[in-house]
């Protein structure tokens, strides 16, 4: 019997010796597979604008973004008017992130003394992991109101003639760390247009892209194609190229564009200057964010 026990003890001893080896390698693997989380794509664009167009990014929840934007005269007159800097269109705007999905904002431009307001809602958010979504889809709507004195006060003027509406879908993707692309099918509705030939509804397709040069700088392009036979012949498509520079809490967007109006109905449907004729405006958007509602850390 004793002879029989010997191999048993040997086996036990070997097992004991081997046991620590099992448990030594990777302690964390003992916890098994980790629960997968949803990883949302962040910072597809540095701020909520590509240049003139809204980007697929929203102001973050609880954050106020103050935007000051200028579009100067055309650069073509050279030093005489300091490459256009002697005259500027400007807009001051405020945007607020109501939630992770919803942002609202308003602004005032000196061009036609225009007030504008918008809401922007993320229907789909690009993500991977637990929930896989290849694109971000944003619904955007804005109302702009020009507040000029009536050109002809004796006429029967309607308040509604001052209003312009824009509906837009923004469909985009952060394709790689350094490259984001978005398409913006848009409809602009004007209650009042100048001539019979112009349509009240203007359909357009915007395309915007960002190419990162470094962690804090990127080049942006934007082009808005207006479907033919909707506008008077003097109006052209808007093309802009810009440089985004991000510092701590600011984003500086410097750009050249043939558009000079900073609300949708303007840069989409009322752009008159042509790049090929030197009708280029220098401009900038400066964005400064303030955290108004701090999420609790604990």
């Amino acid at each position: 019997m004793k002879k029989h026990l010997y191999p048993l003890f040997m086996a036990l001893a070997l097992t004991l010796a081997a046991l620590p080896l099992f448990s030594q390698e990777d302690l964390l693997s003992l916890l098994g597979e980790e629960e997968e989380t949803t990883d949302y794509a962040k910072a597809s664009f540095k701020t909520s604008r590509v240049i003139n167009l809204h980007s697929l990014e929203n102001t973050a929840s609880g954050v106020l973004d103050v935007k000051i934007s200028h579009r100067f005269n055309t650069v073509q007159n050279g030093l005489y008017d300091f490459f256009g800097l002697d005259g500027a269109n400007l807009r001051i705007g405020f945007e607020f992130g109501v939630s992770d999905r919803l942002a609202v904002g308003f602004g005032r431009s000196n061009y036609e003394k225009t007030l504008d307001s918008f809401a922007k809602y993320k229907i789909l958010r690009q993500s991977k992991g637990k929930r896989n979504m290849p694109i971000t889809l944003v619904a955007f709507g804005s109302v702009a109101m020009q507040t000029l004195k009536w050109a002809n006060p004796d006429r029967d003027n309607h308040f509604s003639s001052r209003l312009y509406y824009t509906g837009q879908l923004i469909l985009g993707r952060k394709i790689s760390e350094g490259f984001s692309l978005q398409l913006s099918p848009t409809i602009v509705h004007r209650n009042l247009v100048a001539t019979f030939e112009e349509s009240n509804d203007v359909y357009a397709l915007g395309i915007g892209t960002r190419i990162k040069l470094s962690k804090r700088m990127s080049i942006n392009f934007e082009y808005i194609y207006v479907l033919p036979d909707q506008l008077a012949p003097q109006f052209v498509n808007s093309l802009s190229v810009g440089l985004d520079i991000e510092t701590g809490g600011h984003v500086f967007q410097l750009h050249f564009s043939n558009s000079r109006i900073m609300v949708e109905k303007g840069f989409i449907a009322e752009t008159t200057n042509k790049w090929e004729d030197g009708g280029i405006h220098f401009g900038f958007n400066i964005s400064r964010v303030f955290t108004i509602v701090r999420p609790p850390l604990d």
Binding site: H4, P7, L8, A11, L12, T15, L16, L19, P20, S23, Q24, D26, L27, L28, L30, L31, E34, T37, D39, K42, A43, A60, S61, G62, V63, G97, E177, K215, R216, T247, G248, G249, V289, T291, R294, P295, L297, D298
Partner: protein, 187 residues
Amino acid sequence: MLKKCILFGLFGLFAISALNAQKYFTREGKVSFFSDAKVEKIEALNKTATSVYDAETGKMEFAVLVKAFQFEKALMQEHFNENYMETDKFPKASFKGTVSDFKAVNLAKDGVYPVKVKGQLTMHGVTKEVETEGKFTVKGGAVSATSAFIVAVADYGIEIPALVRDNIAKTVKIDISVGYQELKKGS
């Protein structure tokens, strides 16, 4: 008969060793960091650190999903992920080390046990040897552990541009606080 004996013996042994494994774990460990620079104080908290501690060998591991750090300011969080930690490239930070004086710790008995921990900290794709002090606290049978240490961000290849030199400290303090649960097989 003999074979059966051996088999039973082995099974018995495994069963016993599983019971006595004395491993502890958490999936809800807290890791926070503080950067105290001239212009700005930055604080962030991560509540989803996973950790396993083996009381038999003194080995200890941590893994932290860097994206899960929460900041007070959304923009800080974005910059942290985009510009500094590059979390798309380096999603996890981890620590693998040993509690050097683990034998002095009796997790079955209430008390506070100061310990030294030594090991390798990996973040932003860089692994460095770190050594720090911490303590185990056992209270009413509940085991928790805390530690704090200082990390020089430049050691981990994280660049701070001159522009924000006054906003971000060169060294950040990292606080660890975990409540451990006993790791049972199948849990």
